[in-house]
């Protein structure tokens, strides 16, 4: 007996049987894949002797550019996992019409839950946080975000959440309650295992990190703009980042409350959302979607900013209707808080309430429509270059309008009653999030990669990736509209309607194409690294860019700019190029104060992971230790007296002069040649 007590005390509910091998081959294979991939990565780093460099130059860095890149690395790892899961979901349904399919119902539940949770919280959120992190300070002419330490804490909390999700693939099982985790199904009575707890703590870590990140972005935009950079001179991407940040500040707390109260129900026997003793699951639906709907705009607004930059740059034109785009973005941000109820039209409100929210939902179509017209008019009579990011933009414009129209259809409560929770809905939101958010992020990755690493990505593989993703998306999701209208419900492990079969096969093939599209992205990266000398654009302006991030060398130095530029208009860098001041020496240089590296954010993230993992498995001592260590890290930081270091003016001057010398020697190229080896990152002189 006493032996068992000790085991409980030390390991909580964790037992050897929770470790692989798992009950079925696919789960065991997935677990082994995670373990092997982790070991392989660690082995490669050891083989090349890169641990020290990784630690001192990347993991402990407070540089917004490195933090941005690390966010995007997380996003790509998690994207790979979630795409594989998506392929498995499609495979299951394609072979489960009047048959058992390839996975059991419980396993299928875990698949759609992790797919959704990963894609939202650990793919899209890190991706957009990473892009904003990298681009925003450069675009507004700042040296860093206003709170670099907090920025790193946000990154490592997100990383801890992502690590928890990966751990769940190896140890124990994950929730089957969907990415929205509705009680009472996710209450202890119906989901007694560790799965829902994994979900709760992974999501909580991510939402805490996102709250901090949102505060950081917003304050940076309000307080750190370069002289002359009025709000209405910011590139449009900064406006979308601002609106996203504001949404994060207000919309993340509802998620924290929802998961926190659910945790109290599960851990302490409270009755917030239970079936008995006054529990009220409708309150969960309200709290969750009070987060969930603004979240949709957190995901899409940065992508709108990216599309604005990409379309304007590759059309060789100033963005059409700048201020209408700003107001449309703001309008969407405000409206996003007024429509949450449309996620549960069918859950018992009166018809009048539904009508009000239905109308509010349809109004969002207006500012979004304004944006689409603005982008089209930006392209109108432009000299459009069909580089890979621009190709993605065109797929986006075509598909996003279809998705928007189906959204307007769903906004009608009486129609929603017919197709609620069907595959029609699944098709709709994938139609918004894949061409909108994901393609936007991929376009951002291809667009800004040359700035971040000093060489372009291989164009041919970029176009192949575009073709596969676009065709794959259409083939995978258009059939889902039809299936939804035929009555196929989402999250269904098995169907008994033979008429679905052809459509499901089509969607399955689409998933295969998307998988190939993902592979193409990795091949593109590999090919580009191998050809990096040929693709090099050290002079930093490969696309004849408009805004400040293209000014200066690629990759930019830690301090971003030799001097903080004075801004006179929206297209600040274009103006510098026209006036011939972009490649000149400033009057004088000053010493620059930059944040020193610190290990504390990594420690806080690691402690967060320990706390979350221990809470999941009821290992109370480790949970307490983890939480204390997190706060200990914060207090420890407050005792650091010299968090900054000085970069001498001499060093800044030398680096800038070296860049200027290279720029003077180089030959500027016309935009038609930007995808050829002649592109060294200097635009042809304009007059």
């Amino acid at each position: 007996m006493s032996h068992l007590d000790w085991t409980d005390l030390l390991f909580g509910q964790l037992r050897l049987s929770d470790f692989p091998p798992k009950g079925n081959m696919i789960a065991t294979f997935a677990a082994m894949l995670v373990v092997v991939a982790a070991l392989l990565t660690a082995g490669l780093i050891t083989w090349y002797g890169k641990w020290r460099a990784l630690w001192s130059e990347w993991l402990t860095s407070l540089d917004h550019k490195k933090i941005g890149i690390m966010y995007i690395v997380i996003a790509f790892v998690m994207l790979s996992r979630a795409v594989i899961e998506a392929a498995l979901i499609r495979t299951q349904q394609a072979f489960a019409v009047n048959a058992a399919g390839v996975v059991g119902a419980d396993h299928f539940g875990q698949l759609f839950t992790t797919h959704g949770s990963v894609m939202i919280f650990f793919m899209a959120m890190p991706f957009l946080s990473g892009v904003i992190n990298y681009v925003l300070p450069l675009q507004i002419g700042a040296r860093d975000l206003v709170f670099p330490f907090m920025n790193a804490v946000g990154l490592w909390l997100t990383a801890a959440g992502a690590a928890l999700l990966m751990a769940s693939l190896v140890i124990g099982e994950f929730s089957t309650g969907g990415w929205s985790g509705y009680p009472p199904f996710t209450e202890l009575a119906y989901s007694p295992g560790e799965g829902v707890d994994y979900w709760i703590w992974a999501v909580t870590l991510s939402s805490l990190g996102s709250t901090l990140t949102g505060i950081n972005f917003a304050v940076t935009i309000y307080k750190k703009r370069a002289p002359g950079m009025d709000l209405f001179r910011m590139p449009l991407f900064c406006w979308t980042a601002l609106c996203t940040a504001i949404l994060m500040i207000f919309a993340m707390p509802p998620l924290t409350v929802a998961t926190g109260l659910l945790a109290l129900d599960r851990y302490a026997g409270f009755h917030f959302f239970t079936n008995a003793l006054g529990g009220d699951m409708m309150n969960y639906a309200n709290l969750f979607w009070l987060f969930g709907h603004p979240e949709v705009y957190i995901l899409i607004l940065p992508a709108f900013g990216i599309w604005s930059e990409v379309i304007s740059t590759f059309s060789g034109k100033r963005l059409y209707g700048y201020s209408s785009l700003v107001f449309a973005t703001m309008a969407i941000a405000v409206l996003s808080f007024t429509v949450w109820l449309h996620h549960f039209f069918t859950m018992g409100q009166g018809a009048n309430v539904n009508a009000a929210f239905g109308i509010a939902t349809m109004t969002i179509g207006i500012p979004t429509g304004v944006k689409v017209y603005d982008w089209l008019l930006t392209m109108y009579r432009g000299r459009i270059r069909l580089a890979a990011p621009m190709l993605f933009a065109i797929t986006f414009l075509l598909c996003f309008v279809i998705g928007g129209l189906t959204g307007i259809i769903l906004a009608n409560p009486s129609v929603d009653f017919a197709v609620h929770n069907s595959l029609f809905l699944v098709a709709h939101f994938h139609n918004m999030l894949i061409p909108g958010t994901l393609f936007g992020m991929i376009a951002a990755y291809m667009f800004w990669f040359p700035k971040a690493f000093g060489y372009r990505l291989d164009e041919r593989w970029g176009v192949i990736a575009w073709g596969l993703w676009s065709a794959g998306f259409l083939l995978a999701f258009m059939p889902l509209y039809a299936l939804g209208l035929m009555g196929a419900m989402r999250r269904t492990a098995q169907f008994f309607e033979p008429a679905y079969q052809a459509w499901l096969y089509a969607a399955w093939a689409g998933a295969g194409l998307i998988f190939c599209g993902l592979a193409a992205l990795f091949i593109q990266l590999w090919a580009s690294i191998r050809k990096r000398a040929m693709l090099a654009v050290p002079l930093g302006d490969p696309w004849d860019g408009h805004s400040l991030e293209w000014w200066g060398p690629a990759p930019p130095p830690e301090w971003n700019f030799p001097v903080i530029p004075k801004v006179k208009e929206t297209e600040a860098f274009m103006r510098m190029k026209r006036e011939g001041t972009a490649y000149e020496e400033p009057d004088s240089y000053e010493d620059i104060e930059m944040p020193r590296n610190t290990a504390i954010p990594v420690v806080i993230g690691a402690a967060g992971f320990v706390a979350a993992f221990a809470l999941t498995w009821h290992i109370w001592w480790a949970a307490l230790a983890g939480v204390l260590a997190m706060w200990g890290g914060v207090i420890w930081r407050s005792f650091e007296t010299a968090p900054n270091e000085i970069i001498p003016a001499q060093e800044v001057s030398e680096r800038w002069n070296a860049f200027l010398a290279a720029a003077r020697k180089a030959q500027g190229i016309g935009r038609r040649d930007e995808t050829t080896a002649a592109n060294r990152g200097l635009a042809e002189h304009q007059t």
Binding site: S638, F639, T641
Partner: protein, 209 residues
């Protein structure tokens, strides 16, 4: 040191030094933004509480049954007084260069805060002793969670105060410490405002229901 140099308007970060003020701006503003986010948390818990008072009592105690106005009044007095004493600490920070007075007012504030926590803990224990535990009904879950969240915030404020006191002793009134005390003051006053909402909607409304 001349009076004019000390009696500057605006942020209380010592001598009227525009550079110091320029650097302090984002930090203070950032904390205001954080407070806004924190208030959303309380707003949602309050909304949950209010729904639970109507639909979540499950045949158990109602707000009227568990409201102890006398205890709540004393707690309110303690917390509001602590906000006043923190105000005195802020004045000492702004107008005095010696730390003794600042320490004293912070200590009084901390004692009042501890008193508040002690009384509230006794309230919780008394309710639990009567069988009104959070596991009894959705309403009681919400009651304990809402007040408990405020309780945790006050406790965190006290821990913060302890850290700042240590740093004040170590480094004196340097800019970092001044800024931390100023942000702690904001935090402390916000908890007061939240408490006024709780006093109105939990205790006064409870007694009147």
């Amino acid at each position: 040191m001349s009076a004019a140099k000390l009696l500057h308007p605006g942020l209380n970060i010592g001598s009227a030094d525009p550079e110091a003020h320029r650097q302090a701006g984002p930090v203070m503003f950032g904390f205001w933004v954080f407070l806004m986010s924190d208030l959303v948390l309380f707003a949602l818990l309050l909304a949950t509480y209010s729904a639970m008072t109507r639909h979540g009592t499950a045949g158990g105690p109602t707000p009227a049954d568990i409201t102890d106005l006398k205890s709540a009044a004393i707690e309110t007095a303690l917390l509001l007084t602590s906000s006043f004493t923190f105000g005195m600490a802020s004045l000492a920070l702004k107008y005095r260069e010696d730390t003794g007075r600042l320490f004293a007012w912070l200590a009084v504030t901390a004692l009042l805060g501890l008193g508040f926590l002690g009384l509230e803990a006794m309230d919780f224990a008394k309710l639990a002793g009567e069988g009104a535990v959070p596991q009894r009904s959705g309403f009681l879950s919400a009651h304990f969670t809402l007040l408990g969240m405020h309780f945790l915030h006050v406790a965190a404020g006290l821990a913060w105060m302890a850290v700042v006191a240590v740093q004040l002793a170590m480094w004196g009134l340097c800019r970092a410490v001044r800024l931390r005390i100023m942000r702690l003051a904001l935090f402390w006053h916000m908890l007061d405002i939240v408490w006024i909402a709780l006093f109105s909607f939990v205790f006064l409304a409870g007694a009147g229901s």
